[in-house]
């Protein structure tokens, strides 16, 4: 199967992830895994945005909004105490169906909330619905008009997060419980769970990568790229450009929301800093520096830059660094870093000797 070649980098990445673990363990620096795990969840946003922006050619300056809708929805549903309502018909029904869980927060308060998997499904459905409504009305806009409309969406989500009591206003939502997956695995940021969460996050990212790679090499992926290249020609060949653009928009929003849900459970909290315009700009900058229509570039840059940012390498100039990256890329390498001639010769060499 020639198609298997497409997955070689996935196997290589998987091996690299294990090697990285061993190296960190060897040097007693496994605490780095925390930021790597967080970066991996941010990378999910970048992978989705890469599909939308790099391949389908539709800019979005509102993807932090989708990340936050996923994260906040999951946080609220798993922390909102349903005990006062436990005897109402609806909540009793939910309990009987196993949709809720009983737990104690760090203060020892008994909490009855929705189970994380229920919250996760609800969060993704909500994100999909919001993306559908927003996308249906703005996706036919072109170029910077679309960028501005999505920027407006991001701002609205930010103000809603800041102004809504149930979303914790400026404090956000904390005490988010861990997310129990199968076989004893759980999304949980505490130190004993560090290693398994490193692998959980990477597993999710690699699955997302495989799905995205498959998509861009498929009939649909070709149609997405054709819209980017020449929308009128694509339309005349039977591509329902509006529907395709909308579908990719929703898909990329859901990728972002998955990152939001999992990172919120990992961190145990989410706050309005996740929804700022600068977060959306950061995702765009990462896709650009990764080479726009380049999923691996987006992933590598997504991990590296977020990791450096989370380690505090950029200090208080964090946002400024991402702004500067965006400017530099637009001026010196609008096709992305990997298309710079000298590097291109290098990648060609690598391709010849795999």
């Amino acid at each position: 199967m020639m198609r298997l070649r497409m997955y070689y980098p996935v196997f290589a990445a998987a091996a690299l992830i294990v090697v990285l673990h061993l190296v960190l363990a060897l040097f007693g620096a496994t605490y780095y895994m925390t930021q790597i795990t967080m970066s991996a969840y941010y990378a999910l946003v970048v992978i989705g945005l890469c599909l939308l922006m790099g391949y389908a050619g539709q800019a979005s300056l509102g993807h932090a909004g989708f990340f936050a809708i996923g994260g906040y929805a999951s946080a609220v549903l798993t922390t909102y105490n349903l005990n006062p309502f436990r005897d109402t018909a609806l909540i009793a029904r939910c309990q009987a169906l196993g949709l809720t869980m009983q737990w104690q927060d760090i203060y020892g308060t008994d909490i009855l909330s929705f189970a994380p998997w229920v919250a996760c499904v609800a969060a993704l459905l909500l994100t999909g619905l919001v993306a559908l409504v927003i996308g249906a009305s703005v996706i036919q806009l072109k170029g910077h008009y679309l960028a501005m409309a999505t920027l407006g969406f991001g701002l609205i989500v930010y103000r809603i997060a800041l102004g809504t009591p149930v979303l914790g206003r400026a404090d956000g939502v904390s005490n988010v419980p861990s997310f129990h997956l199968l076989a004893g695995l759980q999304v949980n940021g505490r130190a004993p769970f560090r290693v398994q969460n490193y692998y959980i996050a990477w597993a999710v990212v690699l699955v997302a990568m495989v799905l995205a790679l498959n998509l861009v090499h498929s009939r649909v992926g070709r149609a997405m790229r054709s819209i980017h290249e020449n929308e009128e020609a694509a339309h005349s060949l039977g591509v329902n450009t509006y529907r395709y653009k909308l579908a990719v928009f929703i898909l990329s929003a859901i990728f972002a929301a998955i990152g939001g849900v999992l990172l919120t459970h990992y961190n145990g909290s989410i706050g309005p800093s996740e929804v700022t315009v600068m977060k959306s700009v950061r995702y765009v900058a990462i896709v650009a520096v990764g080479g726009m229509a380049n999923l691996w570039g987006a992933l590598v840059m997504g991990i590296v830059l977020n990791f450096l940012s989370l380690r505090g390498v950029f200090g208080s100039f964090d946002d400024a660094v991402f702004g500067a990256i965006l400017i530099a890329i637009m001026i010196f390498a609008p096709q992305g870093l990997l298309r710079v001639p000298r590097l291109q010769a290098l990648t060609a060499l690598l391709r010849r000797n795999p």
Partner: protein, 256 residues
């Protein structure tokens, strides 16, 4: 009327105060080559866009195989078996020649988002069939050697040919050709005539908007002449060449 593939009835479209197309009616018989000619600004391309769905007419009807397709969107028109080329070649410049032609198979293939993401066996099989089909068409047009080339690296003439290949990949019943000879030299134009005749021989009806009189007169069965958005003559090429109104429009009053 079963031998009429496409018909327009009183088609009209204006931009602001300019009547780009007014009250144009004609029909295209199945497996014929019909040409639409006229001086610059006669409304030829607008007429094309009205048929292909790029523009919606203000009045009138477009009837294809006996059914009104007026105001259908381009993708819906394409799905019915109407393919087109553009006046200025519109390839997907950074995709390979092969991928460009594979795009022509879009309406003939099914795989959606989910199947694409999961890369199901059926999807993969469909992909290979599409690829094989595209290779065949490229070979047929003498473009086999360029399959892996990025489209924008090809010469102008070859890009035009790739656009033909892409349109043919849709297996159209009706091919709309918008000034296919524009920018081609005499030899290339002659080759183009042969190509269009070959396409028609495979059972594809062609509607050609053209400036180049030699091309039109050599290959078309019938010609429609537009001037200032209106049809001023229609008939076989020999008759059109002698039509006083056509001579007046093309050469000026004193020749009429």
């Amino acid at each position: 009327m079963s031998n009429v593939l496409l018909e327009t009835k009183g088609l009209a479209r204006s931009f602001g105060g300019v009547h780009a197309v007014r009250d144009v009616s004609f029909h295209v018989p199945t497996e014929s080559i019909k040409a639409v000619i006229g001086p610059n600004g006669a409304g030829k391309t607008t007429l094309f866009n009205l048929i292909a769905g790029t523009l919606a007419p203000h009045r009138g009807e477009v009837i294809y195989r006996g059914q009104a397709i007026t105001g259908h969107k381009p993708h819906a028109v394409a799905a019915l078996g109407i393919a087109r080329t553009f006046q200025t070649t519109k390839l997907f410049p950074h995709m390979t020649v092969l991928e460009n032609v594979m795009m022509g198979r879009h309406t003939r293939t099914r795989s959606g988002f989910l199947a694409g993401m999961l890369n199901l066996p059926g999807t993969w099989r469909e992909h290979r069939q599409t690829e094989a089909k595209a290779h065949n068409i490229l070979a047929d047009l003498g473009l086999a050697a360029y399959a892996g080339e990025t489209a924008c690296n090809l010469s102008f003439g070859r890009q035009r040919l790739v656009e033909f290949a892409r349109a043919l990949a849709t297996e159209p019943s009706l091919l709309l050709l918008d000034e296919p000879a524009a920018g081609l030299n005499i030899y290339e134009t002659q080759e183009l005539s042969q190509l269009i005749l070959r396409i028609r021989a495979t059972g594809i009806t062609c509607l050609v908007v053209e400036h180049d009189m030699s091309l039109v007169m050599n290959i078309s069965d019938e010609v429609v002449v537009l001037d200032q958005g209106q049809k001023i003559a229609e008939g076989p090429p020999a008759q059109i060449q002698r039509h006083p109104e056509v001579i007046r429009v093309y050469l000026g009053d004193e020749h009429g």
